[in-house]
Amino acid sequence: MTLPLALIIEDDPKLAHIFGEALRAAEFEAEIISDGHVAADRLAATIPAVVVLDLHLPEVSGEAILHQIRADERLEGTSVMIATADPHLAETLRNQADLVLIKPISFGQLRDLAKRLRPVDQS
């Protein structure tokens, strides 16, 4: 049985590792991407169930990626969890994201929230 895909778009490798572990603990296949361009290309090629999105990324901003996801009908079913250290910026994007999480994000909390976002047919 294939696990649902979760893309962890985070440029800090430590946090990307923690978020990946939390998503795996929530029974997702976690794929870590640390670059905005790569993320954009990857999103054009696949349909993840969950995206954990950092806003401060090199090259292409997290905001742009969020817009890309929301503009892409293929990704209608994809849940986006914003994980950011900038609370004010996060507030402005609250309506476009499924969840807004302000760093520091608890491992347990992320795992529990991610579990809820697992596709129903696959749970």
């Binding site: 800090d12 946090l15 250290a85 900038d86 996060a90 609250r94 760093k103 347990g108 909390q109 929230l113």
Partner: protein, 830 residues
């Protein structure tokens, strides 16, 4: 001798000379006739000429004096008259040499007695013509006078006329040889006859008393009535004025008794009937008003001092009486005027010898000075030495000196009243010469001018005050009219660098900086267009004398200056303020820049702190979860401490950043409709870990009356809730923390956080919302925190238009209630 005794009478002196001349002539002629020899006769003939030559001169002199023409008889005229007679005498006595008087002298024995027969020489005729001329002149004068003689002096006149004409007849007979007795000259005889007749006049009629003729003329022309009564009281004489008075012509009146004639005066005169010397005033009432008369009765005495009658003189003194009355009325009015005015009036006489005396001092002096009038009337020195103020006595004395020199003078000085009050007076005196006298009188008025002086002083003080003000004020003040400065104060000098004298030659325009000339022109034109709305003041640059530019604040107002429309301007130097403003502007820019940097810094700090904190938290939790293998109990406890500390650090960072944002005023609320359930969920997921770790029950509840969404800023509300819940968990060791959302009324929704913790002492309640303040009841070292949490809560809630309430019992727990509006804040922002 008679004439000698009366030589003081007019004509008497010359009459004596006349008689002596006649006598000399007669004597000489008699001796000539009686002489036998020719040479003897010639000698006596020559002697006669002393009389012959003197006679015409004496005759003319007598006539002149007698007819009151003495004024012609000056010494010079007399000498001129005597020239020809003197030459004649000289020639007579030297005739033997030249024969100018007698060309031939012979002895004529043809007559009854031997006589000297002469042929006259040239000079004799000169002498004759001259002598006749003088005699004729004198005679004519006398004839003319005689004609005007009144009847009373008729005999006097006839005799005088005879005396005047007789010598002529005799002389003419002799000179022209008409004499019945040959060679007998009648002239000395008839001249003797003249002497006799005139002598008769002297003796019989009191010839030299003819002077009363003049008196008569005077008496007749007198306006006073003069009546002469005899001893029987009969009128013997009266003048025309008396005739008019009694109403009778003179002819009717004479002979009547005084009582009859003066019937209308009877009553008045009766009392004087037997009086010989009396003087009284009578009033006679006539249709056109009363008439006043002065009546004088005096006895007439003859030379033996025996009464011969009486003289009544009646004088009409109505005019004088009326004048006297008018004078009394005038004086009364004058006194009334003097007493009705407050000024003091005086009259002082300055005699020629310098002596001063008070003629008059008005009673007002008492009112003016407070001293009784007697003080002044008695003592000339009282005024200058007591009344006049000591400091002003010298100047007052100068005024008296001027008066003493006969000059008008006006001066002002102080005087001390009896009650000690010092008053100012003006003393003004006019000098008038005394009629007929050598001295003069000063008419003076002394007026109280204290009020005027006070007003003047007040004005001076006020003027000085404002001048001092204008000259010491640091603002420049100027008056500008007709394109030039009319006044500039000292500060204007300092401000412009020009002296006052230099400024007076300049125009305001000259001082305006070129950049501002257009503005000044515009303001001036605007004021011209609407004088009622001048800009109160404006700022401009001016150029100082040495070229330096200064910023000034100019205030102008339109005033009337010496009848001219002028601009009153106040200028003060605002260069320093302008420089400060510029510096502040730069500082503000820098501050804004710094603030931007700070914001950016805060954002970076926030990001840079949160990221490593997340790594710490994440790895510790993964250790706890056993991702890296099972942990011993000690390791589990250690990881729990790490997580707890991380929570505290996070709280601190959050609050620090919030506080910084609040203090910088940069908190901008983003009010949106959000789900209160989501708010509680987020809170629970964050705080649940800590609650579990402490073994506390954390519950959440939403009341049924709460709508699905409520207005608010979710970010800051999460912050508020996190602070309240963290505090509750921190200060509660046993029991529970219950978080609920409800709507207490239609306009508000509320977040309530209740714990079963240690509670807050009553006295600490006022301070719990202050920064870095914690309730003293908390055990030190046990409950640590930033001390910012509640302060941030309170500030944010107020910012949201809400209210924080705390209800606490020590040992029982605390309940915090946040009351927030359901609509108003968003509406306000919209």
């Amino acid at each position: 001798m008679y004439a000698w005794q009366r030589q003081s009478v007019p004509g008497a002196a010359s009459f004596i000379v006349l008689v002596l001349a006649i006598a000399g002539w007669c004597l000489g002629y008699s001796l000539e006739i009686l002489s036998i020899g020719l040479s003897a006769k010639i000698f006596w003939g020559k002697v006669q000429y002393f009389g012959i030559t003197t006679l015409p001169v004496a005759w003319l002199t007598f006539a002149l004096q007698y007819t009151r023409r003495e004024s012609w008889l000056t010494r010079r005229n007399l000498l001129l008259l005597a020239i020809i007679p003197l030459i004649t005498v000289l020639l007579v006595w030297t005739n033997g040499i030249h024969g100018l008087v007698w060309s031939e002298v012979t002895l004529d024995r043809s007559g009854p007695f031997p006589a000297m027969s002469v042929h006259y020489g040239l000079w004799f005729w000169v002498h004759l013509v001259y002598s006749y001329m003088l005699l004729l002149l004198g005679t004519l004068m006398l004839i003319r006078m005689v004609i005007t003689f009144p009847d009373l002096y008729r005999w006097q006149a006839i005799l005088l006329l005879f005396g005047a004409i007789a010598p002529w007849i005799g002389n003419i007979i002799y000179v022209f040889g008409l004499t019945p007795v040959p060679n007998l000259d009648f002239t000395p005889l008839v001249f003797s006859l003249s002497g006799v007749t005139i002598g008769l006049n002297l003796f019989r009629f009191g010839f030299f008393d003819i002077v009363p003729v003049a008196r008569r003329a005077i008496v007749d022309s007198m306006s006073d009535a003069v009546i002469v009564l005899d001893l029987q009281n009969r009128i013997v004489d009266l003048n025309p004025a008396a005739q008019r008075l009694i109403g009778y012509p003179g002819s009717d009146a004479i002979g009547r008794t005084g009582t009859q004639a003066l019937s209308s005066w009877a009553e008045l005169l009766s009392q004087f009937r037997d009086q010989r010397e009396a003087r009284t005033e009578l009033v006679k009432y006539e249709p056109d008003g009363p008439r006043h008369f002065e009546v004088q009765i005096s006895s007439l005495l003859d030379q033996q001092e025996k009464p011969t009658g009486s003289l009544i003189v009646v004088r009409d003194i109505t005019g004088r009486k009326e004048a006297e009355q008018a004078l009394r009325d005038s004086e009364k009015r004058f006194r009334q005027v003097v007493s009705s005015i407050s000024d003091h009036i005086y009259m002082t006489e300055f005699a020629a010898n310098g002596h001063q005396s008070n003629l008059y001092i008005s009673p007002n002096v008492a009112t003016l000075t407070g001293y009784p009038l007697e003080k002044f009337t008695g003592d000339w020195n009282f005024w200058p030495t007591v009344v006049i103020h000591p400091d002003d006595r010298a100047s007052a004395a100068k005024q008296v000196e001027r008066f003493a020199q006969g000059k008008n003078s006006e001066t002002e000085y102080r005087m001390t009243r009896a009650d000690g009050e010092v008053i100012w007076v003006r003393d003004s005196g006019t000098v008038e010469k005394e009629a007929g006298g050598q001295g003069w009188v000063v008419y003076g008025v002394v007026s109280d001018i204290t009020e005027r002086k006070r007003a003047e002083q007040a004005l001076l003080t006020s003027e000085a005050k404002f001048r001092t003000l204008a000259e010491t004020i640091s603002s420049g003040i100027f008056i500008h009219a007709g394109q030039e400065f009319k006044y500039v104060n000292s500060a204007a000098e300092t401000l412009t660098g020009y002296s006052q004298a230099e400024l007076m030659t300049l125009k305001f325009w000259d001082l305006v900086h070129p950049e501002f000339k257009a503005l000044v022109k515009e303001r001036a034109l605007a004021r011209l267009a609407d004088p009622n709305q001048p800009p109160p003041h404006y700022e401009l640059k001016m150029v100082r004398k040495e070229g330096q530019t200064r910023w000034v604040d100019l205030t102008t107002s339109v005033i009337d200056f010496e009848g001219q429309t002028a601009v009153l301007g106040t200028v003060f130097d605002i260069t320093a303020r302008k420089q400060t403003e510029e510096a502040l502007s730069v500082a503000l820019e820098q501050a804004q820049e710094a603030s931007q940097l700070k914001t950016q810094l805060l954002a970076n700090v926030s990001h840079d702190l949160r990221t490593p904190l997340n790594a710490i938290l994440g790895y510790t939790e993964m250790l706890q979860e056993g991702l890296y293998g099972p942990l011993s109990s000690r390791q589990e406890a250690a990881t729990a401490e790490i997580i707890d500390s991380t929570g505290q650090l996070l709280d601190f960072i959050n609050n620090l950043l919030s506080q910084a944002e609040l203090e910088s005023g940069r908190v901008k609320l983003n009010i949106v409709d959000f789900s209160p359930a989501a708010l509680l969920e987020t809170m629970h997921s964050a705080a649940g870990t800590m609650a579990r770790a402490k073994g506390l029950t954390l519950t959440t509840e939403i009341a049924d009356n709460v709508p699905p969404t409520v207005p608010g800023d979710p970010y800051w509300l999460r912050q508020i809730l996190a602070n309240l819940v963290n505090n509750a968990l921190k200060f509660t060791d046993r029991g529970r923390v219950d978080v609920s959302i409800r709507c207490p009324n239609a306009h508000h929704w509320a977040i309530v956080v209740a714990d079963t913790g240690c509670g807050i002492p009553q006295e600490a309640l006022p301070y719990i919302f202050e920064s870095f303040e914690r309730a003293s009841g908390a055990a030190p070292g046990v409950h640590v925190g930033s001390g910012l949490g509640l302060s941030i809560v309170k500030n944010l809630v107020y910012l949201m238009g809400g209210h924080v309430n705390v209800d606490s019992d020590v040992g029982q727990g605390s309940t915090f209630t946040i009351l927030l509006p359901l609509a108003s804040v968003r509406e306000k922002q919209a």
